[in-house]
């Protein structure tokens, strides 16, 4: 009988009952022996400069206040950004380390009191006088600094062939500039931390995607031995990149706990999250395309201009889709950044592809129209034989089939070339190719099969809503033939073996492959024990199967618990690991998809309503069809949101985002999302990892928005190149 928890099955989330009943403990919710004190962050209101005067006596005298921490009294720290030779997630993130103000919203004090109300009230009594310095806050196409490298280790610039020659001799050309705004990750759980310090050990309950670097950044910032630091993050209320590195309130909570040797809880207020957690920078993307009259792409140029936060090296590879999606004779991709005095700019879901695809897949659509071709046919006519950017062969390539299957399922054939008018509604169809790079990251795990039949797996992996607890349960259930109820997956604790953590869509494949390795090693141990048994002497060991809690050897079988008792006697353990092999360098690896949208645009108001979304995706072996579908669904919602709604509004004078709440920073809501159809083309890619899976969490966001934007163009004939496509940008040009 098929194990209902076998790999691939749409198995319900194992943490579901905890989450739907409110019993899952997020960062600020862990019960402690003593009620923690509560810290409230006092923010700077200038983008750069220094603190001239800081008057804290009124706050200190306020009811319930235990301490006001500032640069004058906070524990000693390593200066921000040191050591130079480490990455941005482990370099010091010193807070209250000096009188230097790095950006608007930068913490200048932490008021610690007995209750939230008292801390927040007293924070209003802190008087800060700042001495502003010249600041640069906005970035556009004037950006001219070449980054050392792009996120993911990509080169800032690549050149293949002679672009100028190919472009100037092309029969059809396009030269357009797109822009995308600053965007917030806006995870529903505001960044939160509780720190407990006893003078020796520091325990940190926080909400962080990468546990290992979180320990290291605390050690590097607070001058502590990493062995004395424990980071716990079992449930995370969304991350989307904004919780990859440890965030401001975590350092502040630790400073408070170390200063007072009492537990301190700091939860960022939603308004604070917009400046005290990283955001995605705005982009200007100039795209030039050249093609023959019959629609063969000959020249592709993508130039990206984005901000980078001063002292925090991060450059988003928004040219990534232009480098790999379509064939071309010549290719140029350049990235330039401009240093700004803004809060941290860092990864947000699908760095590079998410906003790169908005611009590039829109420009490709423009080119299809310019060549007089159907947008699906144009894309199909330009599929690459090998990766145009790297010149490497693809480990697998399924984009064309995704486009064909998607077009058939969506009913693309019914599309009217000029769109349709139905009463007040202008109806349009849009398509976008979807690709996202696939990565494997070194990962370890340990498992233990106990004599009572329970299997426990430990890793410092995290589940940010992606379903890690569930798919790891399935990997173990599948490989060892155990029911899901006997499997305990323990994650989110720095005491456990080092894993990849969550980010870059590498979590499931990497942590799952490490667990698979551990299970295979445990199977070997169990088989070895069985071989020594007299009663199994003649059994069929070549056909050994693990099923129903038993080792099945042809007509003979033995329970795993019996084998554990003989070999243990209490338990058997095995360690598993995975690391990138030779295939990583040899092949260009991606997940693929094709996304389709139907929109209705009100011809009088310009209001865009998405009526249908459909995606066909090829992401290797699917580990759980239910949670994988949810990941894709979520990315499609982000796509709608990016195309039509999201924009952080910058007040350049103060380096401040003006719309720091959900009434003004618009996320897609339930009514914005129509029927969504998702289909998998299951094609295990064994060059990806031993499970044959590929990254899925960032796949659909890398195209969904462009499909919507292209549908808006098809409906209206208006091409908005400045995202989001709000009705004011459409209204004047509507037919």
């Amino acid at each position: 009988m098929m194990n209902p928890a076998a790999i691939g099955q749409p198995f319900d989330r194992v943490d579901g009952p905890l989450k739907v009943s409110g019993a899952a403990t997020y960062a600020a919710e862990h019960p402690l022996d003593h009620q923690p004190l509560v810290g409230w962050i006092v923010e700077a209101t200038i983008p750069a400069g220094r603190i001239k005067a800081l008057e804290t006596s009124a706050a200190e005298a306020s009811a319930g206040v235990v301490a006001v921490l500032t640069h004058r009294n906070s524990p000693s720290q390593v200066p921000f950004g040191e050591p130079d030779d480490e990455g941005r997630f482990t370099q010091s993130r010193a807070m209250l380390g000096s009188d230097h103000i790095r950006y608007h919203g930068f913490p200048v004090a932490l008021v610690i009191a007995d209750t939230l109300a008292n801390a927040r009230h007293a924070a209003g009594l802190v008087e800060v006088t700042c001495e502003p310095a010249d600041a640069v806050t906005a970035a556009g196409e004037e950006a001219d600094e070449k980054p050392d490298e792009l996120d993911g280790g990509l080169e800032a610039d690549i050149t293949r062939g002679d672009f100028e020659q190919a472009y100037s001799s092309a029969e059809v050309t396009l030269d357009v500039t797109y822009s995308t705004p600053n965007q917030a990750a806006a995870a529903m759980e505001p960044h939160a931390t509780m720190a407990v310090y006893d003078g020796n050990e520091l325990w940190v309950y926080t909400s962080v995607q990468l546990i290992g670097p979180a320990v290291q950044v605390l050690a590097n910032t607070l001058k502590l031995n990493p062995d004395r630091i424990r980071v716990l993050s079992p449930y995370i209320g969304g991350g989307f990149g904004s919780k990859l590195g440890l965030h401001n309130e975590a350092i502040l909570a630790c400073l408070g706990a170390m200063y007072l040797e009492r537990p301190v809880k700091v939860v960022q207020h939603r308004r604070q999250v917009f400046h005290n957690a990283p955001h995605r920078g705005n982009s200007v993307q100039r795209i030039r395309l050249g093609a023959s009259r019959d629609g063969k792409l000959q020249a592709i140029s993508h130039e990206s201009f984005m901000p980078t936060a001063r002292g925090y090296a991060f450059a988003e590879p928004s040219g990534a889709p232009a480098r790999t999606t379509y064939r071309t004779d010549a290719l140029v991709s350049r990235h330039r950044v401009k240093t700004v005095d803004m809060s941290l700019i860092d990864s947000c879901r699908a760095p590079g592809h998410a906003i790169g695809s908005l611009a590039f897949e829109s420009a490709i659509d423009e080119m299809a129209y310019r060549c007089g071709q159907d947008p699906v046919e144009f894309r199909l006519a330009n599929m690459p034989e090998k990766d145009p950017g790297s010149g490497k062969p693809f480990s697998s390539h399924d984009l064309a089939e995704c486009l064909r299957e998607g077009a058939a399922r969506f009913g693309w054939g019914k599309r009217q070339p000029q769109g349709e008018v139905r009463g007040r509604q202008l109806v349009g169809y849009g398509v976008a190719s979807t690709i996202r790079m696939n990565i494997l990251v070194k990962s370890k795990t340990r498992i233990r099969l106990s004599a009572d039949g329970t299997l426990t797996a430990w890793a410092n992996m995290t589940d940010i809503g992606t379903g890690t607890y569930t798919i790891l349960t399935q990997v173990a259930a599948d490989l060892l033939g155990l029911p899901a109820e006997r499997i305990e997956i323990e994650l989110g604790d720095s005491a456990y073996p080092a894993s990849c953590g969550s980010g870059g869509s590498f979590g499931a494949g990497s942590s799952g492959s490490a667990l698979r390795d551990a299970c295979l090693r445990l199977r070997e141990k169990l088989v070895e024990i069985a071989r020594k048994q007299e009663s199994l002497k003649d059994a069929d060991f070549d056909g050994a199967l693990f099923e129903g809690g038993k080792l099945v050897l042809g007509s003979k079988q033995v329970s795993l618990t019996e084998l554990v008792r003989q070999g243990g006697p209490d338990y058997l353990e095995a360690d598993g690991k995975v690391a990138p092999g030779e295939d990583r360098g040899k092949y260009s690896q991606h997940s693929y998809g094709a996304q389709f949208a139907e929109v209705h645009v009100d011809r009088d108001t310009g209001e865009v309503r998405v009526q249908r979304l459909l995606g066909v995706f090829s992401a290797g072996r699917i580990l759980n069809r239910k949670t994988a579908r949810s990941q894709l669904l979520g990315g499609m919602v982000w796509g709608v949101s990016y195309a039509l709604l999201e924009e952080l509004m910058l007040d350049e004078r103060y380096g401040a985002f003006m719309n720091r709440d959900f009434a003004e920073y618009h996320l897609a809501v339930n009514r914005d999302i129509p029927e969504v159809e998702i289909h998998f083309r299951e094609q295990p890619d064994m060059r990806s990892n031993p499970l044959g899976s590929k990254g899925i969490g960032e796949l659909s966001i890398s195209g969904a928005g462009a499909a919507v934007a292209n549908a808006v163009y098809h409906a209206t004939g208006v091409r908005v190149r400045d995202f989001p496509i709000t009705l004011d940008k459409l209204l004047e040009q509507l037919p």
Partner: protein, 172 residues
């Protein structure tokens, strides 16, 4: 101080007059199921039932709740037994990170009562109120889900109300 019934138990909320129902609940042992997402009544993560109606607990002062009945996510099921809505959210994967989920479930619970009572919404036509995907989407739009589980949330709610019809199960 405010004498309140929380999930059927009489409790005295030690309420600073500046403190919201949300913050007061979250400081009680075992009641952190109600989430704070925005503190401005803009995300719905803190939705609870106040005398049977859904409210954003961040917009209600604890002292206003004197004599009221408050039901939080912890009080929706029967002990270990999950409420059918909670079960449907699991079956249809109506969540990912889970942080907005208690608010979604409480909101859905009250929303179904509103429909049953014939209270119209923005999308209700001139006729009688009828539970359908458009009604659910409109009525659940005060509950943000950044993971983007909306379509599954709609299916979960319709399924628990016996209205899923031929739409089929998510992910099957």
């Amino acid at each position: 101080m405010a004498a309140v019934s929380v999930n059927g138990q009489d409790v005295t909320l030690n309420a600073d007059p500046r403190t919201t129902l949300l913050d007061t609940l979250r400081e009680q042992p075992g009641l952190t199921g109600t989430k704070k997402g925005c503190d401005h009544g803009q995300c719905g993560a803190c939705t609870v039932l106040l005398d049977g109606r859904r409210v954003n607990a961040c917009l209600v002062l604890a002292v206003q709740c004197e004599g009221c009945e408050v039901t939080t996510i912890e009080g929706l099921g029967q002990g270990e037994q999950l409420h059918p809505l909670q079960q449907a959210f699991i079956r249809h994967d109506g969540f990912q990170c889970g942080y907005c989920t208690p608010g979604q479930v409480c909101s859905a619970y009250a929303m179904l009562e509103e429909v049953a009572n014939g209270e119209p919404s923005d999308v209700t036509g001139d006729g009688e109120v009828r539970l359908c995907p458009a009604e659910v989407r409109e009525r659940m739009s005060g509950n943000l889900c950044r993971c983007g589980a909306y379509a599954n949330i709609v299916d979960a709610i319709l399924d628990s109300a016996g209205e899923l019809g031929q739409r089929g199960e998510a992910g099957q």
